[in-house]
Amino acid sequence: MRHLLSTKDLGRAEAIQILDIAEDMADVQNREVKKLPTLRGKTVVNLFFEDSTRTRISFEAAAKRLSADVINFSAKGSSVSKGESLKDTAQTLAAMGADGVVIRHSASGAPQVLAQSDWIDAGVVNAGDGTHEHPTQALLDAFTMRRRLFPGDSRGRGLDGVSVVIVGDILHSRVARSNLWLLGTLGATVTFVAPATLVPVGADTWPVDLSFDLDATLALMQPDVVMMLRIQSERMNAAYFPSAREYGRQWGLDDERLARLRPDSIVMHPGPMNRGLEISAGAADSAQSTVLEQVANGVSIRMAVLYLLLSGEREALS
């Protein structure tokens, strides 16, 4: 693997390989010595044009546990926000000898532009670009599902027949997009539930079922997985829905809806959560919730991705 830019172009075998290597990495996380020498001498740059402490420290922990050197390049408040271009930044990082660049950017496609450019030769990992994709989040979600739904027997398998309902701001969610493609590739069936204003135009052509009605969908699907997406308050001002109260009533996972789920179904959230808006505290803290596992699994997945990108001989440009 030369870059990880999206889950859309990830094949099933490749996806399962990442999940399986993440299992090995998770095993390492359970030992006393959590560090591997694998990427000794390699330099990973976390290039964050958008604030996300959670994602950055997850990648940082992953790189450090593989013994890579980590440089955090936060674009906020630096020369980048003063007009230095992506190109200039990339060339600077190339001059510093970066082997891998983990990029978070508010512009969709920025990681792909970086990967396609001749500005830098490093492997590029998309850590979230605009409203496009967030592939490592989807991989850690799939990893979490696989471990929960097939305990002790997760290696080597996909998510065939697993039903996943993803609820919330699909329109602006890169997590929803990355999950859509990856879960489909792994054999799961996906349903998006959202108010019509937050369903992307053309989503009816995607391999997904669409619904506006959460209660009907939960009753009908009896899903294995319910994933709640973060709803941002600025969406209210842009008239996507009238009020937080109305949103929560229609599309929030409250205690009552939680009680109606199958006892073995799991509740996921990519974080950070708005407790009381899209998810109740009861649902977030229930035994069915995987929120904290998702955080831990994030490190394992990112270790697997960095390992695959940076350990071997650099693959020739295809």
């Binding site: 859309k8 512009a107 496609g109």
Partner: protein
């Protein structure tokens, strides 16, 4: 400047007739086959070449004054000559904005001095393109630049009342409003055509309705006030439908399409390559086909380039940060041949209409274009329609290189361009800046009207 005579032997006129075109003293003096060259005349072997009246672009961004790092009047008109154009209408979004007589006269003078093409400035509809109050349309119309086309291009005149007033007011000066139809609220921060692909790529959608609703409003306003209206760069099938409906009602509306909207689709944006970022955005294949049909049936009157030069750094970036626009003068005719002629939708007489005579008429460019009648000004271009070649950056003659056609195989190639009898392009080679300037001085001495 020595006055040369040219005999273009064996050319084919737009109507298909063979012709030996004799150019003397800046005019076409004969097209009769079998003419012999007068002594001293340069004989051009035009066998296999199609002769078109000099192309007229109603939608060019020359960027001067203010954005000379992208283009200047000189470099932009060199690009025009390389593309077979003998006249360009220069859009008003300069810095300062072309919203006063002073600025439009400056642009006019720069064009007159360069000598590569006739430059006709377009005036801004509103002061500073701000969409708040009318600019001094009368002063610009009565200036030496004699502005007849007014446009806030790049921005839409979105205020309905202001648009009504503008349409009414330009009637006084036989002018026309060229509207860039884009509802600003529906396209805030929009990046590409809205649809399944924009949703997948995570790029903010630019809905077709944002264009179509403005066109619908404006044709009704034009009907109501009885004014001419020109719609810039139609890009959607729905826009074609609205204009077709308006014309059927007898509304005096004209419409244009750009070469890139006639050939390229949004699928190119999968690469996030900002060369494909343009306003209005590239649309679906259905839209491309509808635009072609619209040109073929006359709903769309003209093809105009929307030549929009940008420096490299404006395109070497993430998609959201990149500038909108593509250069188009040098590739326009090959794209038109590829998309419309070789597909059987247009004949060469139609090409002459959509790229020369009709844009000249809309822009009130008098005495410039023609149907090869004797005595017509020798503004013409010779095209080799048999050429099939990959478009390369070295075919660009302007200052910027933001073409979406690099690496695309296109049909047809401009060989010669004559501006008032002077070959600005000679068998693919641009005249030197000095030669062109000498030609310009000659025209000034002869008193050839700047707007002709």
């Amino acid at each position: 400047m020595s006055e040369s005579s040219y005999l273009l032997k064996g050319a084919t006129l737009p109507n298909g007739q063979a012709a030996d075109i004799l150019i003397q003293d800046g005019r076409i003096t004969s097209t009769a086959p079998g003419s012999s060259a007068p002594s001293g005349a340069v004989v051009v072997d035009a066998a296999g070449l199609v002769a078109l009246p000099g192309l007229v672009d109603l939608h060019t961004h020359l960027r001067e004054p203010g954005f000379e790092q992208s283009e200047t009047v000189l470099t932009g008109t060199r690009a025009a000559a390389a593309g077979g154009f003998t006249s360009v209408f220069a859009m008003a979004n300069t810095m300062p904005v072309s919203d006063t007589a002073g600025v439009v006269e400056q642009v006019q003078s720069l064009g007159d001095a360069a000598g590569y093409a006739t430059v006709r400035p377009i005036g801004a509809v509103t002061v500073g393109l701000a969409g708040e109050r009318l600019s001094e349309i009368g002063a610009m119309a009565q200036s030496r630049a004699a502005v007849r086309v007014f446009s806030d291009d790049g921005k839409c005149v979105h205020d309905s009342l202001l648009m009504r007033r503008a349409l009414e007011y330009v009637k006084t000066f036989d002018g026309v409003i060229a509207q860039h139809a884009q509802d600003p609220r529906l396209t805030e921060n929009a990046q590409m055509n809205e649809g399944a692909l924009s949703s997948e790529l995570g790029l903010k959608g630019w809905p077709a309705v944002a264009e179509e609703s403005i066109i619908a409003r404006d044709v009704l306003l034009a009907e109501h006030v009885g004014a001419r209206l020109h719609i810039c760069h139609l890009s959607t099938a729905g826009s074609v439908d609205v204009v077709r409906w308006a014309k059927a009602r007898g509304i005096p509306v004209t419409a244009e399409a750009t070469p890139h909207h006639l050939l390229l689709t949004e699928d190119l944006i999968r690469s996030y390559d900002a060369r494909y970022k343009v306003n209005p955005p590239l649309r679906r294949d259905e839209d491309v086909q509808a635009l072609r049909a619209g040109v073929a049936d006359g709903t769309i009157d003209i093809v105009a380039t929307d030549h929009a030069p940008h420096p490299r750094e404006s395109k070497e970036s993430e998609w959201d940060a990149a500038s909108f626009g593509m250069v188009g003068l040098e590739s326009a005719l090959p794209v038109v041949q590829t998309a419309l002629v070789d597909t059987g939708l247009l004949g060469w007489d139609d090409v002459a209409r959509v790229l020369s005579t009709t844009p000249a008429r809309i822009g009130r460019l008098n005495g410039h274009t023609h149907s090869f009648e004797e005595g017509a000004p020798a503004n013409l271009t010779l095209v080799d329609p048999a050429d099939r070649s990959t478009f390369t950056l070295d075919r660009l003659a302007g200052k910027s290189q933001n073409t979406p056609f690099e690496g695309v195989t296109l049909a047809g190639r401009v060989r010669w361009t004559f501006h008032h009898g002077f070959p600005t392009l000679r068998d693919g080679e641009l005249a030197s800046i000095e030669e062109a300037a000498a030609h310009a001085r000659h025209l000034a001495r002869e008193g050839v009207p700047a707007h002709g």
